[in-house]
């Protein structure tokens, strides 16, 4: 139900935008405004070797895995 509502809302938004009722959306963060975004402390994986290890530990200790940015591999965790 929620998915239908979201899909309908997106389609309506897209249609209104396409018909000119809504001004086309333009990128609202300009390149010269991305100083903070480019800061290493804003990276989801600042040090891949470290994140990869912690992800491996969690995969071994928990039943869940995936959707954490890791590529995944055969760790023999069964």
């Amino acid at each position: 139900m929620n998915l239908k509502r979201i899909s309908f809302s997106l389609l309506l938004l897209g249609t209104l935008s396409g018909c000119g009722y809504i001004k086309p959306i333009k990128p609202w963060v300009k390149p010269y405004e991305r100083q903070n975004i480019a800061d290493p402390i804003m990276s989801f994986s600042r040090d891949p070797i470290s994140d990869s290890y912690l992800s491996h530990v969690r995969d071994a200790r928990e039943g869940a895995s995936g959707a954490d940015g890791g590529a995944g591999g055969g760790c023999g965790c069964n």
């Binding site: 979201i6 975004i37 804003m42 891949p48 928990e62 869940a64 895995s65 959707a67 590529a71």
Partner: protein, 434 residues
């Protein structure tokens, strides 16, 4: 002629109407197509991986030492990552990783024969070696990557192939990515540290599909949505043997024996399908600090439902010193076929006593420091020394502390204290950019 004039006029009017209608139709089609494309673009923008997908990753070398100590297990080893760019459009990386494991997990250790329990012969040590090579290629605003990973143990070998593509658009505010992973594993069984000749090696195929969308929301906020779907299945199953469980582990069931229970082999399904969705966001504070939040939900066809949330704070405390603090909670339900103590032998079609399939919750805290070295090392632009410590506490809701039961006695089978686990995870690494 005067009679024909209205006819001609009508014909012309009809022709004009037809042309206008056709134009309207064409315009409608055009408008419809435009709306569909824009709608699709907006729809895609809801979905996400790397914010700077069209920029090659940094050239760097990382040397890491890691230690895991918890639940009677010590795992340690080195890891090395080298990443080098070639010609401005290609990045090649190699990763080498070693796990040296000192002991088996409690659910494996105490599920072996009573003789093993008394003699302590179930203790063992083993080593896992993982190697990876990846290539990334950039074309315009698209990134393509290929990866190959091998993992070798004396009773478990695997190969994994990964392919991914990502595309940034909308002024590079949005990056859409798709990934595919394919793996082949060989599952063996050890006996006294050597391959068991009586055990036929089982083969496992793994598939993983990932979809990601990364979005710069404001000049201080980035969000990232990931959706994963995975499937593992056995390709050469034997009766009662599945490649998805540890052949060493057994389940216990109530019996008329002197100790009140006995052991039998685990029985697992032949397929395991998983779905996970994760949402992450990171926000730059007015000073040089960021706060990050992660949430994830996971389900599988074994009845496990898990969720976790994490909050992370990173700040520059002095010049060249970054400090990180984090807190994470995790909880999951048990698999449908999990039990710590089955009522009798062969009580179900599938039987598991893997504590990672039990119901439990955990909390973790983490502290980390990154120090940028002030001196220049010849050949490198920047160097850092990093120390990160995580402490995990896991409380199991239906996995009992069989260890204490064996040592102290006095418990009825199945009424032992619930098991809990404290673990420390340490990472120390040096990173060099060039």
């Amino acid at each position: 002629m005067r009679v024909k004039a209205p006819v001609v006029q009508m014909a012309v009017q009809e022709a004009v109407v037809v042309v206008i209608n056709q134009l309207k139709k064409i315009k409608l089609v055009y408008v419809g197509m435009r709306a569909a494309v824009i709608g699709a673009a907006i729809f895609i923008s809801i979905g996400i991986v790397s914010v700077n997908a069209t920029v090659l990753p940094d050239e760097r070398v990382d040397l890491l030492g890691h230690v895991y100590d918890g639940g009677g297990i010590q795992v340690s080893g080195p890891s090395v990552l080298v990443r080098k760019n070639i010609g401005g459009v290609v990045s090649v990386s190699g990763h080498y990783y070693v796990d040296m494991v000192s002991s088996a997990s409690i659910d494996v250790q105490y599920s072996k024969s009573a003789q093993d329990l008394i003699s302590g012969a179930s203790k063992y040590s083993e080593e896992r070696l993982e190697k990876n090579i990846s290539v990334e290629y950039i074309h315009d605003r698209s990134t393509f990557n290929l990866g190959y990973t091998t993992s070798e143990e004396n009773d478990y070998n695997s190969k994994t192939y990964n392919f991914g593509v990502s595309q940034s658009f909308f002024g590079d505010l949005t990056t859409l990515s798709f990934g595919l992973g394919f793996g082949q594993d060989l599952v063996g069984k050890n006996q006294n540290g050597k391959p068991d000749p009586a055990f036929r090696v089982l083969e496992k195929d793994r598939r993983k599909y990932t979809l990601g969308l990364s979005q710069i929301i404001t000049k201080n906020l980035i969000a990232d949505l990931s959706i994963d779907a995975g499937s593992d299945h056995c390709t050469n199953p034997l009766e009662n043997d599945s490649c998805l469980n540890n052949p060493q582990r057994q389940v216990r069931y109530v019996s008329n024996s002197a100790k009140g229970f006995d052991w039998q082999a685990e029985k697992y399904p032949l397929t395991h399908n998983t779905d996970a969705i994760g949402l992450r966001a990171i926000y730059h504070l007015p000073y040089r600090a960021s706060i990050r939040a992660d949430i994830r939900r996971f389900t599988d066809n074994w009845g496990v439902e898990a969720k976790n949330a994490e909050l992370r704070y990173t700040q520059e405390v002095y010049k060249d010193v970054l400090v990180e603090v984090k807190y994470r909670v995790y909880s999951q339900t048990a698999a449908d076929f999990y039990s710590d103590l089955f009522p009798y032998r062969d009580a179900q079609d599938f039987l598991a006593r893997d504590k990672e399939l039990s119901q439990f919750s955990s909390q973790s805290i983490g502290l980390g420091v990154t120090y940028k070295m002030p001196w220049a090392i010849p050949g490198f632009d920047k160097s850092t020394a990093n120390f990160y410590w995580d402490h995990m506490k896991i409380d199991y809701d239906n996995f009992h502390d069989f260890n204490n039961f064996m040592k102290e006695g006095g418990f009825e089978e199945g009424d032992e204290n619930l098991y809990s686990l404290d673990a420390d995870v340490i990472r120390f690494y040096l990173s060099f950019w060039f």
